[in-house]
């Protein structure tokens, strides 16, 4: 045990005395969570639109005002022909155009029927859909205000309640995702480099001739990074609560425990990568390629997994961050207890055991 502690101390000094790396380790998550937490959002707002108003009467002006005043739209141009609409779209200036026909109000009052055309730039299908829906509901509201006193017969009303995130803020789904991304990058990349570095510098030989068991050597490597990651988890949580305004609804202790578990999973993955890599460059490249993209794609925070083809859905199950993302979402935002997340916890534990097992099995006591 004493030997083990000495090894941990040695590893700790490695990190502590390399101030530049320590600085990056502590500050990178802060920068990332702020940058991505604020900037990565799918919320659609302030979209630029143009209006082609061929009747310019009271009704069309009222609707245009309503639309321009909403926080989703930003009226940038009044166009005067269909050709103009196409040109403005091609310059990338607008996302949607609203066309009012001639005699809009006249038709509305006399024949009780008028038309509005919404033209969306569907090159981004989601934004197009969302914008069309928003515009439609604003127009519906206006129409409702016209026939306020009349109650239509046989009306079905729908009351919609948004659970967990009533303001539909983007940060609620991105914070858990960024948390998984950052922890994965820091833990896995750093441990894998730390071990390979000893190989490259030749100091591994010194360690290998020591009486310490391989298992203990590996654990001693990982312990200091576990502490650094705990500091990272705390900073990320503090930032998300106080800066991004995403509350921790569930139990803080459960969240901390699950994050520690995920950190250990990432660390074991890092150890495994370092075992098979010969140079720091390969280690770094492997951890980036095998972690960054899969975490981004398959954890489910950027792209819905259920939309992917079946083979990719199966692959996504192997990505640890997918399970961690589900856990954080459940505990932090939905406020559920351990009873709801035990299957995911078990999966993460199983992954850790397998990864650690393989690394210990593959850890070579002999040089080359």
């Amino acid at each position: 045990m004493k030997q083990f502690l000495i090894f941990v101390k040695k590893e700790w000094l490695h990190i502590w005395r390399d101030r530049r790396t320590l600085f990056i380790l502590i500050w990178m998550p802060v920068v990332q969570i702020i940058l991505y937490g604020f900037a990565l959002t799918n919320e659609v707002k302030n979209s630029n639109i143009a209006i082609f108003d061929q009747s310019r009467d009271v009704a069309t002006l009222a609707i245009s005002d309503e639309i321009a005043a909403s926080r989703y739209f930003n009226l940038v141009k009044n166009v005067s022909s269909y050709k103009d609409i196409g040109a403005t779209f091609r310059q990338g200036k607008i996302r949607m155009a609203i066309v009012f026909p001639q005699n809009f109000q006249y038709d509305l009052l006399h024949t009780n029927s008028s038309q509005i055309q919404l033209i969306a730039d569907a090159s981004d299908p989601n934004t197009a859909n969302t914008l069309t829906n928003y515009a439609q509901s604003i127009i519906n509201d206006y129409q409702q205000s016209l026939n306020q006193n009349q109650q239509l017969p046989y009306t079905i009303k729908a009351q919609v309640r948004m659970l967990y995130n009533p303001e539909l803020k983007g940060a609620y789904s991105f914070v858990p995702g960024v948390m998984a991304l950052v922890l994965m990058l820091v833990c896995t990349m750093m441990t894998s480099i730390a071990i390979v570095k000893e190989k490259e510098m030749g100091t591994m030989e010194v360690i290998l001739v020591s009486p310490l068991k391989p298992f203990r050597i590996i654990i001693a490597k990982a312990v200091p990074y576990l502490f650094v990651s705990l500091v990272n988890i705390i900073t990320i949580l503090l930032l998300s609560v106080f800066v991004l305004g995403v509350p921790i609804v569930g139990s803080l202790w459960l969240l901390m425990a699950e994050s520690t578990l995920f950190t250990i999973t990432s660390l074991s993955l890092g150890i495994l990568i370092s075992n098979s890599a010969k140079t720091q460059q390969t280690a770094m490249f492997t951890s980036m390629m095998s972690l960054f993209l899969p975490t981004l794609l398959f954890s489910g925070f950027l792209f819905p997994i259920e939309n992917m083809p079946i083979p990719l859905q199966i692959i996504s199950n192997v990505v640890p961050s997918k399970w961690f993302y589900i856990i954080v979402k459940d505990v932090m935002i939905k406020g559920l207890g351990f009873g709801a997340v035990w299957p995911e916890t078990l999966i993460l534990m199983g992954m850790t055991a397998i990864l650690l097992g393989i690394s210990i099995y593959k850890f070579k006591i002999r040089l080359a």
Partner: protein
């Protein structure tokens, strides 16, 4: 000029005699283009629906049928009480609960009015917003059907109605891949441009071969050009491979001309390669240059509008994207490929990217020292 020819010969030989580079160069773009667009499908469909039906009437069944047959919703859960329905949401089994109250049909027919209750899991705001909107639209349609059963439709509408028609230009089938593939191409070209170029020079530093160049009469600009041109050609080659894959696999043919894209890409690559060179003049080891270029490309890619729309970002972040060359190319690529924009439409982007090219390359040349230490 002769000197440059020799340098180019050396660089090309170095690149083509390294099988690893060739493999990465040809296989990486193809694999990424095959996998990424399949995974990056953000279309909102397959919303999992949970139903709590207290009424069990003809109407409630019709309504549920209508919702499920719309194609957006999949009926995943049928619970006897709202609390049990909520459990299904907590377990991620469903995304949305529709609660039909007791006497839904009776109230609708007798009292002329009935209320449905909908609860949406809103952690993913976009999905919740669209899901809520879709289901409300379907309910309204159903409402219209019911009304038609009871009332004879008058010749004119009884009260003012505005008929909203919507058309989706440039991508009428709402195909998400058409949107993602051009962006992914940009990402690939950028990664090859910046990290490969940066690593290449630092490698000469680490191996010590840069010394030989430093003591030769090669001028600074000749050295930089000698490094730039081969990677410039390689990146354009990767872009071409990408276009071929996009055409053969996804059937994506640009609405605008290839010429416009290549004009922009040539200038853009000069800028990106300049950035790579700049990073390499600061780095001493390959590890440093990899870490830094990885960090820079990660921020560039995530803040480029590839995954999330730039307009949705807060004002300061939108301002940051103005300094991100990747965001310009992604916008241009989408404009030309999907909307058929021409050179005149993208002139602002061209000027901006020329600015980047001059800025990065001047800095890189000024910062490149022919002395060691």
């Amino acid at each position: 000029m002769r000197m440059l020819k020799f340098l180019l010969q050396k660089e090309l030989k170095q690149i083509f005699r390294d099988p690893g580079i060739i493999r990465i160069l040809f296989i990486m773009p193809i694999v990424q283009l095959l996998i990424l667009p399949l995974a990056a499908d953000y279309e909102i469909k397959n919303i999992n629906l949970g139903v709590v039906d207290h009424d069990h009437s003809e109407y409630s069944r019709q309504l549920v049928n209508k919702i499920v047959s719309s194609g957006y919703f999949r009926l995943k859960d049928y619970s006897p009480s709202f609390n049990q329905g909520l459990k299904a949401i907590e377990l991620d089994k469903t995304d949305l609960i529709l609660e039909i109250p007791t006497h839904f049909e009776r109230d609708l027919v007798k009292d002329n009015q009935s209320t449905l209750f909908i609860a949406v899991d809103a952690i993913n705001g976009v999905k919740a917003g669209l899901g809520g909107a879709y289901i409300q639209q379907i309910i309204q349609d159903y409402n219209q059907d019911v009304r038609m059963q009871w009332i004879q439709n008058p010749k004119l509408n009884p009260q003012p109605t505005i008929d909203v028609t919507s058309s989706d230009w440039y991508n009428p089938n709402m195909n998400y891949r058409v949107f993602m593939v051009p962006g992914i191409l940009v990402m690939l070209v950028t990664m090859i441009g910046s990290s490969f170029a940066a690593n290449n020079i630092v490698r000469e530093k680490e191996m010590g071969t840069i010394e030989q160049i430093n003591v030769s009469p090669i001028k600074k600009y000749q050295f930089i050009l000698g490094k730039l041109i081969p990677f410039w050609m390689m990146a354009l080659g990767v872009l071409t491979i990408g276009f071929i894959v996009a055409r053969l696999v996804y059937g994506i043919v640009p609405l605008g001309s290839y010429f416009t894209i290549y004009v922009f890409a040539s200038i853009y690559l000069v800028a990106v390669l300049g950035l790579g060179l700049l990073l390499s003049t600061y780095a001493q080891t390959q590890q440093q240059s990899m870490l830094v270029s990885f960090f820079v490309t990660m921020i560039f890619n995530l803040m480029s509008g590839l995954y999330t729309p730039i307009e949705s970002m807060p004002a300061w972040a939108q301002w940051v994207t103005k300094f991100n060359p990747v965001s310009y190319f992604i916008e241009v690529m989408r404009m030309v490929m999907l909307k058929g924009s021409g050179l005149a439409d993208i002139r602002v982007h061209i000027f901006a990217i020329i600015g980047f090219a001059i800025f990065f390359n001047t800095w890189a040349i000024l910062n490149y020292r022919k002395r060691t230490g």
